[in-house]
Symmetry: C2
Subunit: 323 residues, 2 copies
């Protein structure tokens, strides 16, 4: 049997509430009594139940992280960086995989209230955004802005679009194409906006095609590439998508970058090792996670954030899929 | 202010303990009283505090999952499959990233006791394995066997080694090499064992080189390949490592599979899209996660497992990096 607070009280010959005051470091306890209780706790190997303590203290030291997937590189890196920052600050992480299901979101919201979760980091396109207003705990969104009143950390997707367009034009491409992800995502919209803005100033047009970024439909990509042989510059919204496109282009006898330039997104580790190595956009994924955690704990402590919506810089990583 | 159990008791004109009996579905409450209390709960929008309930019920509906990393494909897939199975069964997941740090392991063990975690899935090479004996909750290990008394789910790494060796020999390789991960890992040992067993029966020898599977040292790999030009068949213990090796071999002017055959490990999605597409070993990652969760909940319910150490089958996926 695990020793209980009762056993400690009995051994120390004091009341349960006195033991509780010592455990929770609240209220007056005579120093001699404290020493006796500490000894009893140690002798019995008593572990205070954190659940009971968090009920009293309203502090669970747990934060929730909501992601739409775990598999893709972006989310793995993000979770790893949040968890490592949390660990350094004495917090634990519960993660929830919503899989774009609004029902699951609602279930989780209920759970967060029941468990005194101290704060929430949302890295998914949360569909019940209006429900978040009612939450009693701080929330930070990452990679999304769900509500102008909910603080966010995002990467500069507009700039990413501009950088990609400028690089493809600089390499001589005249017939551009965007192979993008779901058009309802803010990141998709902003990357497209930046790209279009840049090409407009050069009087160049771009075709836009929508794909699944995680499991791209290779047959559909091949159809698009066969039907549009004029395309000589492609901006793909994930490195995986760019890799599939490259593979199909090669099969169609087109050379990269001589015939078609390609720029990917994410700077996934495999970019350096594929043939040709992939020029891509790098987001500061680890910094996004770290900053999200830091800002969340600021809000938990009641500290105001200097910026409600923080935007992090992105970078074009030059490799050999551009001229 | 959030409504409390007190508010419910006041509104329903009953004692707090009566409300508690209704919430926890324990003990007798007259049906009429139950209806009144249910209405008060609904009218006030009261949410029972799960922390308090789990104190009473000793059931937190939370399980912990310990992983050494999140980034690599294997762990992302594994976490996703455990989480989705947990969700379907009303459980929530807390995940912990030990980063091979024994200190963090000890801290987590303490945390699990404090929070009434109901069970633990360990997918890392837990260094404080002896401490696990003292844990009061069920434990399952995945991808590792830490103790003969702790139930485990693993893939058949010995067979994986055999399959790889047989395929390289069948393709005509005479000078084999293993590019493996940390030699202290059980999976590394077993793959090597199976590989050696198979080549021994063909009187073929293999050189063994140790690398970091997640961030392979490309310079070191190049040195090894330059110093051993006789190598014509390679078994790499991760697809990422195989990809880096392929890239360096091409740089050295060697053709795959004509001059050197390569087999990877994990069946990462990029295998189909690199040049040449990579022959690899597929583990049933999603099934490993699902079965680990199912067996853990069996143990939580006190049901005996049919097999203490369950071994799942592996498969050789043929692509074009073998002849």
């Amino acid at each position: 049997m695990k020793p209980t607070i009762k056993d400690v009280a009995k051994k120390a010959n004091v009341s349960i509430s006195t033991v509780s005051r010592v455990i929770n470091q609240k209220g007056y306890v005579h120093e001699d009594t404290r020493v006796i209780i500490d000894k009893a706790i140690k002798d019995l190997g008593f572990v205070p139940n954190q659940l009971a303590r968090s009920l009293t203290n309203r502090s669970s030291k747990i934060i929730a992280v909501i992601v739409p997937h775990i598999g893709p590189y972006f989310y793995g890196e993000l979770l790893e960086s949040i968890e490592s920052q949390a660990q350094a600050n004495g917090y634990k992480i519960m993660f929830f995989n919503v899989q774009d299901d609004p029902e699951r979101e609602l279930e989780y919201i209920k759970f967060f209230e029941q468990y005194n979760i101290e704060g929430i980091i949302i890295a998914s396109n949360f569909q019940n955004a209006s429900k978040l207003d009612e939450m009693k705990v701080p929330i930070i969104t990452v990679d999304h802005i769900l509500d102008e009143n909910i603080p966010s950390i995002t990467a500069d997707s507009v700039k990413a679009g501009e950088l990609a367009a400028r690089r493809l034009i600089q390499g001589g491409s005249k017939n551009l194409a965007i192979f993008r992800g779901p058009s309802f995502l803010m990141t998709t919209k902003e990357r497209t906006l930046g790209f279009k803005k840049e090409i407009k100033s050069h009087n160049i047009h771009a075709e836009i095609f929508d794909f699944d970024l995680v499991n791209p439909d290779a047959k559909l990509i091949e159809q698009v590439l066969r039907a549009n042989p004029q395309i000589d510059g492609i901006f793909a919204y994930s490195d995986t998508l760019a890799l599939v496109i490259s593979s199909i282009l090669k099969k169609l006898g087109r050379r990269i970058p001589e015939d078609v330039q390609i720029i990917g997104y994410d700077n996934t580790p495999f970019c350096s090792w594929i043939n040709p190595p992939l020029t891509t956009i790098a987001q500061p994924i680890s910094l996004l996670g770290k900053q999200a955690f830091l800002n969340l704990t600021r809000l938990i402590r009641g500290v105001e954030l200097p910026t409600l919506h923080e935007v992090m810089d992105v970078e074009l990583i030059e490799r050999n899929s551009t001229k």
